[in-house]
């Protein structure tokens, strides 16, 4: 125990769910649930091994390894479902959880109503070629050096920096999904993200800028990350925004930059296309399939198979392979994102979008990599088309109300005057409602790019990608001072 391990602390030395004995245990449990009268039984097993660390200024100030195991058991009776999660993966622990879920639905345990369960299919092992991913990740020492290099570069490239932070997080997850329709699938997921943040201060002037870079399934991401260009990008933005004046509120055209600009589509429209919203009756688009809901310049996609993208999956958390789902095509609403419960309750077919943060959540229809497709314009043509407006180079976070109204902060913005990018402004927020804004996206450039993010919703926080080319919104409310 005295030697310095080359591995990151907490590293799992076995792949728990590759053990074939699980099949027998799970079949027994699912058979029990089916005999009690459940229409559907699903068991989700999870084994995680995560680490995160933080560098502040030129010191590693926090190293946080964590690991967990658990199960989520979901039982359906008609359209109702009972869900129980537990950390206890013993035979008794899982049986107790199943009994609790069956009890919630008042299913008569011990009375054999029916048993349509024919056993699990052969294991579909999406993780078989990923067993070494964890070991291919950088050691803690390598990781710390790289992140410290990042904060050191911030110091070299930045001015008036009061705080410099670099962070790294690695999330490794092994999952096994078994269900009474025979679904039996295993996967290993690896997500890594790197963040650089600065707070610049000069007298009363302050600006804080952050960037995150995330991938899935790329153990060498941290090794291949270029801290030089990331640090330059962050420092340049921080300095520009440090002395920026507050933007004046009003209604104006806006050009939203590519990459993280896509967060607005994700929040303001994407969530309203999830069947969880359709079920609740909170989406204004629930009866609009085949109808125009956006400008014909807009085609929007949600998919789970872009190589290495933060929201990519080999299978969703219900064991289904992800699909490329066309949400909007030339302005016409084509599809919703659906999971198992969504299909059951709304009739919209599953799209491989059943996702959850962990075993403590039931899966729900969620986005993966969501983006507006590229158009035919060059980015500068969008800027040149605006006499007076706002260029939103970098978006902050935002939120969407239950009836579709959204609000997003703009981290880095510039005025557009006479078709040219002018002075930086701060304090801008974009306010609107998806139904009104989608028809106002009139121009899409040809520079589609994606950005990693985290999305919090009904089934917890999940990794997603947002994206778009530069787009122009003809008119949007800008909040300011």
């Amino acid at each position: 125990m005295v030697e310095k391990s080359t591995a990151i602390p907490g590293i799992v030395l076995d792949n728990e769910f590759s053990d074939s004995r699980w099949k027998q245990r799970l079949e027994s449990l699912i058979g029990f649930g089916s005999m009690a009268g459940a229409d559907f039984v699903e068991i989700f097993l999870e084994n995680t091994d995560n680490v995160g660390f933080l560098a502040e200024q030129d010191t590693i100030t926090s190293v946080n390894p964590s690991f967990a195991k658990g199960a989520g058991i979901r039982v359906f009776s008609g359209k109702r479902d009972g869900f129980v999660s537990t950390n206890d993966l013993s035979e008794k622990g899982l049986k107790d959880a199943l009994l609790q879920a069956l009890g919630m639905l008042e299913l008569d345990i011990g009375i054999n109503k029916k048993n349509a369960f024919l056993g699990l299919n052969n294991l579909k092992d999406f993780g078989s070629k990923k067993n070494n991913w964890l070991f291919e990740c950088p050691s803690l020492e390598e990781g710390c050096k790289k992140i410290l290099n990042g904060t050191s570069l911030l110091n070299r490239k930045g001015n008036h920096l009061q705080a410099r932070r670099g962070s790294y997080s690695r999330s490794w997850q092994e999952v096994l999904v078994a269900a009474s329709d025979g679904t039996f699938a295993r996967d290993i997921r690896l997500h890594q993200s790197i963040g650089l943040n600065v707070l610049a201060a000069d007298g009363d002037h302050r600006s804080s800028i952050g960037r995150r870079y995330g991938t899935s399934g790329k153990p060498r991401q941290l090794k291949e990350w270029d801290p030089e260009s990331s640090a330059s990008d962050v420092c340049e933005s921080a300095l520009k925004m440090l002395y920026a004046e507050y933007v004046h509120a009003g209604q104006m055209p806006a050009v939203l930059a590519n990459k993280f600009g896509g967060v607005i589509f994700h929040e303001a429209c994407g969530h309203l296309l999830e069947t969880t919203q359709i079920e609740r009756g909170t989406s204004p688009f629930s009866d609009k399939i085949g109808q125009s809901i956006a400008n014909e310049a807009v085609t929007a996609i949600d998919e789970g198979d872009s190589n290495g993208a933060f929201g990519s999956l080999s299978m969703d958390d219900e064991g289904m392979e992800p699909q490329k789902t066309v949400l909007i095509e030339n302005g016409i609403l084509k599809n919703f994102l659906s999971d198992r419960a969504g299909e059951l309750r709304t009739g919209h077919p599953r799209t491989g979008s059943g996702r959850r943060q962990s075993h403590t959540y039931a899966a729900a229809s969620r986005m993966r990599n969501t983006y507006i497709k590229k158009g035919s314009f060059k980015p500068n043509q969008l800027i040149e088309s605006v006499d007076k407006g706002l260029y939103c180079k970098s978006m902050g976070g935002g939120s969407v109300g239950p009836t579709g109204q959204f609000n997003f902060s703009v981290e880095e913005a510039y005025l557009i005057e006479n078709g040219k990018i002018g002075k930086p402004v701060k304090g801008a927020t974009l306010i609107g409602e998806a139904k009104q804004i989608l028809p106002r996206i009139t121009m899409c450039a040809d520079d589609l790019d994606l950005a990693a993010g985290f999305c919090g919703s009904i089934s917890g926080n999940i990794n997603v990608t947002v994206g778009q080319p530069h787009i122009k919104v003809n008119s949007i409310t800008v909040g300011g001072r």
Partner: protein, 461 residues
């Protein structure tokens, strides 16, 4: 059959954990250790138009282990696996992490980790089980829908009960244990009228147990709030006199609690500096306390993540900063005692428990200008602020937040269709023009209505 209900059993045994960790660390190059562990059992239900939608149950456990290696450096690991194997792996992980620990700032045990704990006097309430939860929630949904014909659905709702236990143990002999029961009800209704946009609003209630929940109050408040937004109009962009309802003001001041956070100050990301004690940050009539022991605080703990007893503390009095919130490490740096506001970490986080906004003794009654009940001047009444995670730049002081509220003219309330309020917290605290007398207890603190002049509001065109 009855629902399966395994509640009312002891979830976590501190002495058992202590024995096992002593065994595991024996002979290892670990000079001292401490742990924080928790276990919980929860039941929750959601309904949709009179039918059960989802019922959930969970058993969760978590443990965070902190170890000091032979060089005195700290490492930490968290796990949900409380088995011997899980604990051993966590201690190994924490030891490995300690080899990369921060030599410049080493946390230690809180000097108060064995000090007497305050009496919380929170009786533990029994679980009622999922079947009764479901009946209660169906009934609540029905009653809410019956309140007004425009209320068409309750798309977000939930009734939950939980039992939670937590321990803090260190190798110096500190053993802290606490347990808590909690019940939660939220109702979020959607109302629609022909040719008008749907409007929605909601309410939340917390209590120690289901039988203590103010269910009728939650139904009535949700209905009242939702209906009050049916008659809406856009608001002109401009500067307004604003009255914050207590919930809204508490949300705002909580989002900027880094002003009082010693951790943030040391990290250079607070609006305060080390020498800010005694500095004026608001009008003299404003005072702010943090009091995690307030009887109304349902989620209260008698000790923090480092085992320090929870206590009430004055943060601002008469407009001047009086104290900061501390962990063991920040307190040592500032030369004071920890205040009971820390998490457990290699670098412990710090945060407030339960904020209480009050008029200070410097409040001049004779200059009292505004009152929600009598003011006839035009003002904006902000009921709740949204998207705080996105619209608050805590290290810069600025905020730009969508809100639900009303434009009040001559006492008549007209719901604001969609709007954002923006400003700087430092300016806002200086622009407070009145603090009402009545202190209102909410689920996350206490505050009167707060009146602020000249805030920018952007309406959606």
């Amino acid at each position: 059959m009855d629902t399966y209900n395994p509640a009312n059993q002891k979830l976590i045994e501190a002495n058992n954990i202590l024995d096992r960790i002593n065994q595991i660390t024996k002979g290892k190059p670990i000079t001292k250790w401490d742990i924080g562990a928790s276990c919980s059992k929860d039941n929750s239900v959601q309904v949709d138009k009179g039918e059960a939608k989802q019922m959930k149950g969970s058993q969760r456990s978590a443990i965070t282990v902190r170890v000091w290696n032979q060089e005195g450096i700290v490492g930490i690991t968290s796990t949900s696996d409380l088995s011997d194997c899980g604990l051993e792996k966590a201690i190994y992980g924490a030891y490995q992490a300690s080899l990369y620990g921060n030599k410049d700032e080493i946390p230690s045990f809180s000097p108060l980790s064995k000090a007497p704990l305050p009496e919380l006097n929170r009786p533990i309430k029994n679980s009622i089980g999922i079947t009764k939860l479901l009946e209660l929630l169906k009934d609540s949904e029905n009653k809410l829908l019956a309140k007004h014909p425009a209320i068409k659905s309750v798309p977000y709702n939930g009734l939950a009960e939980s039992n939670y236990e937590r321990v803090y143990i260190n190798s110096d002999g500190a053993i802290r244990e606490m347990e808590r029961s909690q019940a939660t009800l939220y109702l979020y209704a959607k109302a629609e009228e022909t040719s008008r946009k749907p409007r929605s609003s909601g309410s939340l209630r917390l209590a120690l147990g289901i039988e203590d929940l103010d269910i009728e109050g939650c139904i009535a408040e949700t209905a009242e709030k939702t209906i009050s937004h049916l008659n809406y109009q856009p608001i002109d962009t401009g500067n307004y006199l604003v009255c914050f309802k207590p919930e809204a003001f508490l949300d705002l001041i909580s989002a900027f609690s880094n002003i009082f956070n010693a951790r943030a100050i040391l990290d250079g990301v607070s609006l305060s500096k080390r020498d800010s004690i005694g500095k004026r940050i608001s009008v003299p009539s404003f005072s702010l306390y943090d009091n995690g022991l307030n009887p109304a605080y349902i989620g209260a703990s008698s000790f923090d993540g480092e085992g320090t007893p929870t206590k009430g503390i004055c943060l601002v009095d008469g407009g001047e900063i009086k104290n900061f919130l501390h962990s063991e490490s920040t307190a040592r740096t500032f030369g004071v005692n920890p205040t009971g506001h820390a998490g457990l970490g290699a670098k412990a986080s710090v945060g407030p428990d339960w904020l209480e906004v009050k008029r200070s003794s410097k409040y001049d009654l004779e200059n009292s200008k505004y009152s929600l009940k009598t003011t006839k001047t035009t003002f904006v009444l902000i009921e709740s602020l949204n998207a705080l995670h996105a619209g608050v730049k805590a290290s810069q002081g600025s905020f730009s937040l969508p809100f639900d509220g009303w434009l009040v003219k001559d006492g008549e309330k007209i719901s604001v269709e969609a709007a954002t309020v923006a400003g700087d917290i430092r300016d806002l605290l200086q622009q407070i023009v009145d603090i009402e007398q009545e202190e209102i207890t909410t689920y996350h603190g206490i505050s009167p209505h707060i009146w602020v002049d000249n805030l920018t509001i952007t309406g959606e065109a």
